[in-house]
């Protein structure tokens, strides 16, 4: 039997992997993918809580759907900015983005 704890541990591991990716990756697209992993961890959390704590209410599932939609919008704008940057600077490597530094 899979319990709530299993889901929460899975979400925590997924969140940590995403966090690790955001911090260590240098490619802007890879950083966006790390953020997506973190958001999916939150979705697992919400759906699991909703299923185990408040099974009659689907508010957790609704929240997860909203997060998926907003994440898609965010990635769209993020990728648009990355394309504009690639055109202007010929790089999307985070280490080389140091035009702004003191």
């Amino acid at each position: 039997m899979i319990s709530l704890t299993h889901y929460l541990v899975l979400a925590a591991v997924l969140f940590s992997i995403g966090l690790f990716g955001v911090i260590t990756k240098r490619n802007a697209i890879a950083i966006l993918m790390g953020i997506e992993l973190m958001l999916n961890a939150v979705n697992i959390n919400l759906v699991a809580f909703s299923r185990f704590i408040e099974p009659s209410d689907v508010v957790g599932q609704v929240f997860a759907v909203f997060i998926i939609v907003v994440a898609a919008a965010e990635v769209a704008v993020g990728l648009a900015i990355i394309i504009a940057l690639a055109r202007a600077r010929q790089t999307i490597d985070a280490e080389e983005l140091h035009l702004l530094k003191w």
Partner: protein, 477 residues
Amino acid sequence: MVIDLNLLLPEIFTGLLGVGLLVLFFLWRGEGVVRAIGYLAAVGLAVAAVLAYGTVALDTSTLQGTWLADPLAGYFKVVFLLSGVMVALLSLSYLERLGESLAEFFILLVFLTLSMMVVISAGDLITLYLALEFQVITFAIMIGYRRREGAATEAALKYILLNAFSSAILLFGLSLLFGLSGTVDISGIAAAVSAGSPQPALYLAVIFVLAGLAFKVSLVPFHMWTPDVYQGAPTPITGFLAAGSKAAGFALLIRLFLTIFAPVSTVWTTVFVVLSVLTIILGNFVAVPQTNMKRLLAYASVGSAGYMIMGLIAADVTGVEGVLFYAFMNVLAILGAFGVAVVFANATGRDDIEAYAGLSKRSPLLALVMLLSTLSIAGIPGLAGFVAKFVIFWAIIDKGLVALALLGVVMSIVAVFYFLRIAKVMYVFEPKEETPIRVAPAARIVLVASMVLTLVLGIYPAPLLDLAREVALAVLR
């Protein structure tokens, strides 16, 4: 279910204003359309500010609790709309220089203001998250507005990556809150959390929410994105980030920490003390060697967050009153300073402090506004910034944190030092060229209004303080 649409009046008006301007822009593409839409946006936002002021006295909710119309929401809506008006007027002269200007800048600005208003009125976590992301995405587009310029696009990328990252962290904390209470309603969560003894998961939620919001208000060590983004963004938008976005973050901190997390206040006040100390020390000391005006103001703005968070550390009526007053005076002072930077860069195309040499001879108004705004941020008596810092220091001394208040005073002296350096450049140094700088009428209104209000609130702060106190009493009731 009865929906009282009167409670949403400022938001409905602002939303219709944005859509209306968009339609107008599609239908009428002639000469002067940008200018007309800019003025219409400013006037419309001013009207919305009057409507929002009418909701300050309310204390109710609608749409089954997803929409709050309380004094805290009303007060901050006025702050956001006021900064929206000032930014719209400043953008008018900024877009002139840009040449290929489009009216969508103002339309996005209207929606940006709307997103902040929804953030503070959100009564449940879903609305809160949607409004926060609405704000992040719109800001990212505005920051990268000059998409052919490398620095602006780089700033936009840094902004969206770090804010999406911080939203994910915040969201993880919110999902834990949902798990603890089984509801997404903020008042429902607060009731569920305060019912029993605090569970370990609540502490975890505090840490995640705190880290997520600390990114948004740029507390050290979560401030790395701030100077880069502030420097790369279009200057009016930088001003909006420092005035409006920061106020929205603090509004949210007040909303969440003084209600949901009140039972575990001993934990988060300790964390906030550490963050506050780091923020005021780093923000003020790193500002000293800066040579770029926007970057210097960015670090000064980081320092301001360190002072504002002290009001939350006190977590009482005086402390919240101080934060509210600070948020208002910060709009005036920081937009005054960035306003001068906008006008100056328009005329000369430069942002470095060296270029400001002899500004008092080229434009006495610009030099005076810059002097008073920066000294207000530093907290010189007689200006609004002093009153804000005084109230906050009073609150934390009352809580026995005398050392923190002393550190705050010492760091204010550091701030006076680097701001007086700018004053010296403007007033003592000889100008390299003598040509006077023309100030456009729209920008002149903003600069004079911010200067006059800073002076008036410095000498006679009682009306705004009374209002802030009433709002603070309602928050902590």
